[in-house]
């Protein structure tokens, strides 16, 4: 076995603008969007007809027929049809997890190049048959004679026609992610104002990044969209203050503006060894340094559902002998403004850091001017599995732009999970 590892380079990325649910991409499937994102990447980095090491991808909301979503997207793309591909699933951490998996293979020398990707649609969502109807149809299908088949089908009742629509809820608690986050916001005393301020910063940063052309080589227009459909660059705290809370009851602090909207989109990131990049004349934007995942017990121990990144980051920091302040940029996925704020408060809090993390002291504050400098999910939208690729590509480019530095990436995921990583240039 290979005991040596080698540096892994982030070479670029591509995504389609993210659309609001039932917006511009209402008719597009996951495969349509993922194929488009891949082809944009292929075109930008001259990979047409090439076989890359592998393509990893995934989608959180997926039709049963999309069991091989990534491979099917590859076959529909301009990549060589001999490119192997597989689907990955770790809820909203999927996109970053594809990066981690392929980066590790590159580091081990198993492959020289890879594309990490993801897509999600909440418009073309998989609606499943009612379980009772499904049982009847299976019985009818298994029937040996037409009489038996009719007998089985005769059991169908009007109530069986009601479909199973996927819900954004935790199966073990029955609470939506927003309701879980409202509990966290209450536990950490997060105010409406703080959340609205974070949301406004997200929109303003994203708007400014578009205006200065930051995304020119990070996305390709799709179905008439050139910018993320959710972007409101003219957002102000005053405007947001008018919205009614949507989670946490009447006293709630979470609104449609400081929570991410359901969205559609796809993203892809190109990774390779430094040798592979050099051979192809590709510039190394950043190196992939390390990653960590964590999960919390939000069922029994009642930890906040989206607090896992707060656990993952300190473990990764310790392994790399780094402090929380040793970063030039922070990319913290804004599932909800409250999630980001709870995470930051937890890291500043001696109680959390000692009692829950087992550290001697609090990790401390971060410089908020370094947080999500080119916008975050509140402004872009959050097509679940596509968010990791959006963040990795933009983070690598931002490091390249500033000519060096280090970025911390943190993404929370359903099921009480967190996926985090470090990029360096």
């Amino acid at each position: 076995m290979n005991s040596k590892t080698r540096a892994v380079a982030i070479l670029g990325g591509n995504r389609i603008p993210f659309a609001r649910s039932n917006g511009a991409y209402a008719k597009a499937s996951n495969q349509d969007m993922l194929t488009t994102a891949l082809d944009g990447l292929v075109e930008r980095y001259g990979l047409a007809g090439e076989r890359v090491g592998e393509v990893a991808g995934g989608a959180v909301l997926k039709h049963a027929r999309d069991f091989n979503l990534t491979r099917e997207s590859v076959l529909g793309s301009k990549l060589a049809p001999e490119t192997s591909a597989y689907d990955v699933g770790q809820a909203c951490g999927t996109g970053l997890e594809t990066t981690i998996l392929t980066a590790n293979k590159i580091a081990l020398g198993q492959i020289d190049s890879a594309i990490a990707s993801g897509a999600d649609t909440t418009s073309d969502a998989p609606i499943a048959l009612n379980d009772k109807l499904r049982a009847i149809l299976i019985e009818a299908n298994n029937a040996k004679s037409n009489t038996d088949r009719l007998r089985a089908l005769a059991k169908v009742r009007p109530g069986h026609i009601v479909p199973e629509i996927p819900r954004n809820a935790e199966p073990r608690t029955g609470l939506s992610m927003g309701e879980h986050t409202a509990i966290m916001a209450r536990e950490w005393g997060v105010t409406r104002e703080e959340q609205d301020e974070l949301a406004v910063a997200s929109h303003q940063n994203l708007g400014a990044a578009y205006d200065r052309g930051f995304f020119d080589d990070l996305l390709n227009p799709y179905l008439g969209l050139e910018r993320d459909q959710n972007l409101r660059a003219d957002s102000t705290v005053e405007k947001l203050a008018k919205l009614k809370p949507v989670f946490g009851g009447e006293d709630g602090t979470m609104t449609a503006a400081n929570s991410t909207p359901l969205s559609d989109g796809a993203s892809a990131v190109l990774l390779g060894s430094e040798d592979w990049a050099e051979q192809r004349g590709l510039k190394v934007l950043a190196r992939f340094v390390d990653a960590e995942t964590a999960a919390v017990d939000y069922v029994g121990k009642k930890e906040g559902l989206l607090m896992a990144p707060a656990y993952a980051v300190p473990r990764m920091l310790e392994r790399n002998d780094m402090k929380l302040q040793d970063f030039d940029l922070y990319e913290i996925h804004e599932a909800f403004a409250a999630q980001v704020l709870c995470t930051l408060k937890a890291w500043e809090d001696p109680v959390f850091c000692r009692q829950r993390l087992g550290l001697d002291d609090a990790l401390g504050e971060i410089d908020r001017s370094k947080l999500n400098v080119n916008g975050g999910s509140l402004a872009c939208g959050h097509p679940f599995a596509a968010t990791g690729g959006r963040i990795v590509a933009a983070a690598a480019k931002a490091l390249d732009e500033r000519g060096g530095g280090r970025t911390l990436i943190s993404i929370c995921a359903a099921g009480g999970q967190g996926v985090v990583a470090i990029l360096e240039r």
Partner: protein, 469 residues
């Protein structure tokens, strides 16, 4: 059950419908301690003014008590909670949601100038209406007489008016106390804080407690049986408050020697039989009583740990009609005999290290009462005795304190005329009378091994009575 007929009526559905709109006092049923209960059920909110000195010991005490704690996201209390191993959630008044607290604990020891008293309003204004039924408000500070700087002493003295007013505002059976903790005596806070957080202090409110240097090292003890292995004397133990004191001390692990006059011997033996104690029937005013008591403890127990002077009588008459016997007999029972017993026990060095003397005074001794010149004289004398004896016995590792009951539901108060009785019952922050067990629990706290830092205090058990406040 509520304590009296009126409480039963206004707490019934129909009675409540009438009492509310008409503005009649609405006493709530007070939480009272049951063995096995946690120190406090419900969330404790711990706050502190900048520069607070007591946040660390308070957080440790709360952790030891197994309390569920929340704190504002301020450095001093978060650091204290972290040090104490408390997994405390956060409270932000700007995102209050539906928070409710069983207790509000505020460390005001950092306030060293009157201009900083605003910290009290900042902490309590958004939280005071979130205190649950039978809740607790505890403010901590430094004894003004121990503050070096006049401005600091002024600000710390101001806490008293604040806390007493909170006690009167908070209602629904909630109580408010001010605990002054001397610099260096922080470690001795534990038992006192637990007592005032717990339902044991049900009928104690508006009190100012001074916690100072411990009179002796406190050995490890079992919080569930703090008086395990201790021997206690309770005078006047056959009935009323005395009987309840004997029961509570026995519950806390003590071997109780109950004392009462020979005519009450049968009742006394019933009680001591019930609690596994022993009976000593004698008249404390007899000349040889102190010696016989001392002999009993020397021979049977090789000493004594807790002395509770509870025996007392009333012989009411206005002063112009006060005959010599009423006066002298009462003074002898209520005060002079206590002095003689204490002297004898101390002289023969029978009170062991970490010993306790607790004497029962009365709010009549503080406020005075028409028709009770004799009684009030004796009960004020008890206060004088406690305060003068405290520094003397401290040298032997012994504390002496007094409890001053207000209106307690006993046979004595049942015999009062209706109007006087109702006034006594309602004219306090709890708008009801206390129970003998409320006095007993307070005595048990003062008698406990953890109270080595409480000496020379007079603690009223009066529901914050308007009398003598």
């Amino acid at each position: 059950m509520p304590t009296d007929r009126y409480s039963q009526i206004v707490n019934s559905r129909i009675g409540g419908l009438v009492a509310g709109p008409v503005g009649l006092p609405q006493p709530v049923e007070l939480d009272r301690f049951e063995p096995g209960q946690p120190v406090i059920s419900g969330e404790v909110l711990l706050g502190a003014a900048p520069g607070a000195r007591l946040a660390d010991p308070v957080a440790h005490a709360l952790a030891g008590a197994g309390a569920t704690v929340r704190t504002p996201l301020t450095d001093v209390v978060r650091a204290a909670a972290g040090n104490a191993g408390l997994d405390a959630a956060v409270w932000n008044p700007d995102a209050p949601a539906e928070a409710r607290f069983k207790a509000l604990v505020f460390d005001a020891s950092g306030i060293d100038d009157s201009t900083q008293l605003a910290a009290l309003r900042d902490f309590f204004q958004p939280t005071i209406r979130r205190v649950e039924r039978s809740g607790r408000v505890i403010v901590l500070g430094t004894q003004p007489e121990l503050c070096g700087d006049p401005r600091e002493a002024t600000a710390q003295r101001a806490l008293e008016g604040f806390t007493r007013s909170v006690g009167k505002e908070v209602r629904r059976g909630a109580a408010a106390q001010l605990l002054y903790v001397a610099p260096g005596a922080e470690a001795g806070l534990d038992a006192t804080l637990r007592f005032f957080l717990s339902p044991r202090s049900a009928y104690v409110s508006g009190q100012v407690i001074r916690v100072a240097a411990a009179v002796a090292d406190v050995p490890e003890f079992d919080w569930g049986r703090p008086l395990g292995g201790k021997v206690a004397l309770v005078t006047g133990a056959s009935r009323g408050i005395g009987a309840e004191v004997a029961r509570v001390l026995a519950r806390d692990g003590a071997h109780v020697v109950g004392l009462d006059v020979p005519p009450a011997a049968e009742e006394l033996e019933d009680l001591t039989g019930e609690i596994g104690g022993s009976a000593l029937a004698l008249d404390i005013t007899e000349p040889d009583a102190p010696q016989r008591i001392a002999d009993h403890f020397a021979n049977e127990h090789e000493g004594i740990d807790v002395v509770v002077h509870n025996a007392g009588v009333t012989r009411d008459k206005t002063l112009g009609k006060m005959d010599e016997e009423r006066w002298s007999q009462l003074l002898d029972i209520n005060l002079s005999s206590q002095e003689r017993i204490d002297e004898q026990l101390l002289e023969r060095e029978l009170i062991r290290a970490n010993g306790r003397i607790v004497s029962v005074s009365s709010i009549s001794g503080i406020a005075g009462n028409a028709g009770q010149t004799n009684y009030a004289t004796s009960k004020a004398g008890v206060i004088g005795m406690v305060q003068s004896l405290a520094p003397v016995v401290a040298k032997r590792g012994v504390t002496v304190n007094a409890v001053a009951p207000g209106f307690i539901e006993t046979a004595m108060t049942k015999a009062m005329p209706l109007a006087t009785r109702e006034a006594g019952r309602r004219m306090n922050s709890m708008v009801q009378g206390g129970l003998p067990v409320d006095v007993a629990e307070t005595i048990a706290w003062l008698a406990g091994p953890g109270a080595a830092s409480v000496n020379g205090n007079v603690v009223r058990v009066c529901g914050q009575s308007l009398l003598g406040a």
